[in-house]
Structure formats: structure tokens, C-alpha cells
Symmetry: C2
Subunit: 445 residues, 2 copies
Amino acid sequence: MNTQRHPHVTAAATAADFLIASRQCEIRNLEHFLRMGRLVQSVGNLVHGLQRERGATNLFLGSGCQRFARQRDLVLKQNEQLASIFREALADIQHDLTDHPVSSPLLGHIAGALHCLDQLPEMRRRVAEQSASVADATDWYCDTIHKLITVVFEAAETVAEPSIAGLLVAMVHVMNGKEYCGQERATGSAGFSSGQFDSALSRRMMHLVEAQERCFEVFVNFAHEESLGLWQTLRAHPRELEIERMRQKAVSVGRFKTLDEGLADHWFHLMTERMDDLKKIEDSIESAFHHRCVERYTEARRTLAHQETLLASLEQRSSPATPVLVVCDNGVDARTVDAWAGDGVGQQAGRSIFDLVQAQTRRLRQMSEELQSAKEALEDRRIQEKAVLLLMEHRNISNDEAHRLLRKLAMDQGKRLPEVARALMSMSAVIGNQAAGLKSCRGTR
Amino acid sequence: MNTQRHPHVTAAATAADFLIASRQCEIRNLEHFLRMGRLVQSVGNLVHGLQRERGATNLFLGSGCQRFARQRDLVLKQNEQLASIFREALADIQHDLTDHPVSSPLLGHIAGALHCLDQLPEMRRRVAEQSASVADATDWYCDTIHKLITVVFEAAETVAEPSIAGLLVAMVHVMNGKEYCGQERATGSAGFSSGQFDSALSRRMMHLVEAQERCFEVFVNFAHEESLGLWQTLRAHPRELEIERMRQKAVSVGRFKTLDEGLADHWFHLMTERMDDLKKIEDSIESAFHHRCVERYTEARRTLAHQETLLASLEQRSSPATPVLVVCDNGVDARTVDAWAGDGVGQQAGRSIFDLVQAQTRRLRQMSEELQSAKEALEDRRIQEKAVLLLMEHRNISNDEAHRLLRKLAMDQGKRLPEVARALMSMSAVIGNQAAGLKSCRGTR
């Protein structure tokens, strides 16, 4: 709050200073996201590990603790490792985030995720003692995974570079889709192993399939070439058809028909393979994210050096014989320069700075436009989550039912889901905002 | 990009660390906006000064440099002072902004504004030599003022605290409305002093009146009590009725009727008073902004200290006899705590951190919801500006005509202006995006 902190600041700020500062600011942001990439990667790995642990735990509890103990122990050990890598990535970025003024929500959500993870030993103890039910354990894992994915979601919110933001939007949606896939695996396992799907279980399956599809649709819109290729390979895999047939059984077999219990293992195996393939897509996005950050960083540093040289040469224009270099990055229109040709030689320097300023302004405007679609995809997701929480609280219904109700409203009105969600939220003050606020805090438990 | 920068970071990041970091991050952001307040104030003062200079310059040139020379010299001197205060405020905040990773657009727009200001001496010289026409001078002042207001607009974009963002949204819209008022003063002066309004001049008057009204509507939605009171006083002032009557003359008197030229001075005087009153509203918002920042800053520091004490006491729970203090800021629901009562004494610490984490998550979510309306108001404004530029380029029409066309489209379709603007922008790829991009850079000259 005092101005003494930067004694090297000159009293007169110039256009050139701020042109350079704008570039430096972009560079710092890119450095920040290079570090952030490691965090996103560690979250993806930990989520995948916890999904495996959830699967192994359900099998273990489902078998009355008779089977899968060794496989589960192995997963637990691997996850210890993944959790500590996650905590290290966090420790590395903590101060960086605290200095990053828009990170307050991200930091808050990290605290939430860490708090969940702190309960992991206790949850495992209860599983070992069989004092936790399959439902208890599943709920806990779902909640923790949701909180971890939220960290990536919040990280994506803070990106200002369109191509990088797009990759994080793709990442969040694959993560979310894969998590729905994991929940579908658990739901299907419960049905197939008990030999039947009651209507609640069938509806849950349908909801999870639809929710996955919506996530993957958004992913496809923001995916880069390689991850899109992996996605198409996954879709074309014969396994998909098998899964589809088993899904049909799950949603069409009612309370009074029974299924071969041997299907449970097969289902679990198919869905596990599918999730592993989805993880490969995540890894491909992560790698593209890293490369894109490095590429943009190198590019930004080069442009900055270039601009600094140019501006220095403009300041030294004491020798009028030196031709002034007019460099316009991003292909600035030569006609802009021509239009000023009548102003005389004395205006040369003014013109070049003018061109640089214009080019930067235009570039920033274009970036903000490109960023818009990524921001909208995130905002769509956020508003839908809020609307679901509102419906859950207001009508006292489950998450699944709230999703279904939202879909029905959209279908009836011929509108997109986010539109209906937005309309609902705008009426939240009328239909009980306070209740919704309360639920939004406890509803995710 | 290396992790050695913060050797004091412990390897294991805890939920409590991140809870504290989230608060610290908010505090830094508030400090940043305390500094930003000074910049906003200096922009407001400089814009007001340049509006006065534009008025004085037009009168001076309009009188064939016979009158108003002394008044103009006085304004020029005052503006030298205001411009250097603006540059000082910029120099003070420059490093702060460069560290603030979302500031790249703001810094770019500051460079643009400074570059305009650098041309001020040259423009004044041309006025003194009478080598600049009234239209040249007016265009230059309008462009410079527009660029200065854009700085405040971009600053408003970076705020994460809803009540502070709301005040900046109110500020930007008063500034914009006041500038339209200034342009109306110039347009009216041109008409009244020439004794007639042709249809182009009348249409321009109508456009400027409508544009003002739209700005003030948004201002009213975000204004705090005091500025709203000042606004109502302004609206109830007898001057408003006089201005309204003169506006009627301006839009209804055609090419072949003539007006008393003495009206010009009266019009100029009335509009100047009105602008001075609008400046008082700006000052009132600025003062509220400052107080709100200080208030929120003090509050945030107190909460942080409180949480640090609490978390320290939770960590020292070696003595089980010490009662654990459960503090839930923002009125966390006591039932949340009760719901955990069955978990045994060993869970006390876990519970309290849980409450703090939940309270922070909920608070952040609520803040993001409240922030939404401020962000939307800014986004509405941005998209309308873009749509106007698109229409100007695509149909090769003036700014006024583009505004009128946009209004007509909205009226015909029974939609709000931002909706029509959004629909237009979504079609920009079809109707010539590149051309629009080019125009967006040169169209503001």
C-alpha cells in the first residue's frame, strides 16, 4: 500500500514501458501455467488411483472381505505415492498461487480437497474393519474425486491464454466424463453382481451414460488432434459395443428378471479398460498442455526481446539518418502505416510505437474473443451444477433426480441445458436462495 | 519455474495452509485495489479536464481564435498537472500490475492511453496554429478520453470482490454517460452556434441522448446510496427541464429553420453544469470505493488473524482437556457441527477445520455468484462495442448509424441490445470476421 516498495520506478510512465509490461505480464502468466501443469498432472494421476481404489474397495467389501485384499493393498500403496506427489506439487505452487490475486477460489478448493484426503487413512481403517458399507465408501471416494476435479476446474478459470484455456477445458471434461464412467462401473457392478437392476439403479445408469456423453461432447469441441484421435480409436473399439449391450441389459431388465452373476466381473473388466483408455487421453492432453505452454513461453520471450530492441532503437533516434525499423507482429496491416505517410519524418517514432500499441491492443482483443468460448464452457458447467443443487434442496430430491428434472425442463422448452439452468438460477431468489446456499455447502458431502 | 525460489516451503501442504493462503490471496487483491483506486481517481480527473479542454478548444477554434484564449490556457495548465498525477499513479502501480497475471490487457490499454496523451502537445500546437479543424480536435479528444475510460473498464474486469466490482461498474458507466453528455454538449454547440441542425446533427443528438440513458440505467443498478442520492438530485434539478426543451429544438428544427445563435452559450453553460454534477457523482463513487476497500481489507485481515489463531490452537491439541474452539465465520450452520457429534472427541480438530473449509468454499461460491451480475454488465457493454465495430466495417457506416441499426434490430426482434449484439457476433465468422478485426483496430481512431 505504499509506493516505496519499488524505488527503481521512474516517475514518468511511458507508453513503451506499459507495452513491455503487458508482454512481461503474459510471460509470468505462462510461467505460472507451466508450474500449474505439474499440479494438473498430479491431480489426474491421483484421481485415477482413487478410482481404482474405489473399485478395489467395492469388490473387497462386496466379497465380504474374502477376495481382492491383495490387489487392494497394492493400489493403496501406489496411491500413497500419488497423494504425496500431489502434495509436493501443491507445496511447490503454493506461494506462487498466493501471489496470484485471482487464485483465492482455487486455494479454497485446494484446502477442501486436502481436507478430504486427510480423512483417507480413517476411511481405509473403517473399510478394513468392515465398519463402512459399500455405499459409505463409494460416497466418500466420489466426494473426494469431485473435489480434486474441482481444483482443475478452478485452475482452468484463471487462464488468460485461449489455446491453453481450451486444453484445460478439454481436460476437465475428460476427467469428469471418466469419473461418471467410474460411477457407472460401480453402479453396473452393484446391479450385475446382485443379478438385477431395480428401476432406481436403471435410472442411475441412464443418468450416468447421459452425463458422460455431455462431458465428452464438450471435450471434443476443445480437444487437440492427438487426443481426438485417441478418442476416435476408443469409440471404434469393439469393447464399446459390448458395453452398449450390457447397458441395454441393465436398463431393460426389471426387478423380476435376473441376470447371470458372472456378468459382473466382465462388466468391471470392460469398464476398467475403458477408464484406462480415457486416462491415456488425459495424459495426451496434459502433454499437449505442457508443450503449448513452453511454445507460447518461448514465443512470448522472443517477441518481448524483439520489442525491447525496437523500442530502444526508437528512443535513440538522435541520428535522423538511421532508418526506423517498423515491425508489426501478427501481420499488422501495412495500410495503417501508409495512412500516416503524410505526417512527415518527425513522426516516424510515434508511428512505430503507434503500430506496436495497435497490434498489441488488437491481439489482446482477439485473445479475449477466443477465450470467450472456453469461459462459456466452464460457466455452462458451473451453472448446471448450481441449478442441480438448487433443485435438490428446493424439491428435496437426489442428485440424479435433479439432473433428470433439469433435462426434462430443457426438453420440454426446447432449450439447451445451460439456458434452463440459467433461468432457474435467476429465479433462485424467488424459490428460496438461502436454502440453496446452505445446500451448496452440505450437498456435496 | 524452479521450486528453489521458496526454500521455506514445507514439502507437505496441508488443508490449513491453503485455507490461510486463500485468505492471504484475498488480502493481496484488496491491497492491489487500494492502489488501483488512486489510478481510477486520476483517470476520472484527467478525463474531466480533457472534456473541459475539448469544450474550451472548440469555443476557441469556433470563434476564429478570437475568444476564450485565456480560459483555454488556464485549462491547459490544470491539465498538465492532472496528466502528471495520472502518470505518477501509473508509475506507482506499474510493477504491481506486471506481477498481477490477469493484467496483460489492462497494461496494453494503458499503453494505448499513454500513447494518445503523448500526442497532446502536438495537438495543442496545431490548435494554436489553427492547422487543426474543430472536427480534428474533437475526434482526437474523444479518442483519448475513450482510451482513458477503457483503462477503468479493464481495471473493473480484474476485480474478484463483488461489492468492489459493482462500484467500478457504476463508475465506468457514469464516466461513459458523462462522456456522451460531453459529446452532446459539443454537438449541440455546433448546431446552436450555426443556427441550425441538419438531419445528421439531429440524429447524432438523439443517439447521444439514448446512449447516455443506457449508461445511467446500468449505473443506477450498481450505485451505492450516496451516489444514487446525488443522481436523483441531478435528475430533479430545474436545469434538466431546460436541457430537455433545448434538445427538442435540436431534433425538431430542420435545415430550413434557424435558431437564435445566443442559445449556444446557454446550452454550453447548462451542459457544463450537468457534467460538473456528474463528476461529483464519480467522486462520490470513488470515495465509496476507497472506503469499501479499506473496510474489506480490515475485515479480511481480522478474519485471517482469527483463523490463524484457531488453526494454531487446533494443532496444539496435545492437551485433551482444552476445549476446542469452533468458530464458523459467516454464520455457518450449527447443525453441520451437530451432524458430526457422533464421531467421538478425537475428531474435534477435523471437524473444526472441516467447518472452516466449508465456510470458505461457500463464501467463495456466494462471491462468485454475486460477482456474476457485475461481470455481465461489463460483458454486455463489451459485446455491444464489438457489434457496433462489426456493423461499421461490414456495412461501411458511421458509429452513430451502427448504433441506430443495432437498436432497430433489437426493437424489431423484441430483444435486449446485448442479446442482438451477441447474435451478431456469433455470425461474425459468416459476415466477415477478418474485416471486423481490422476495423476494431482502426475504427476507434
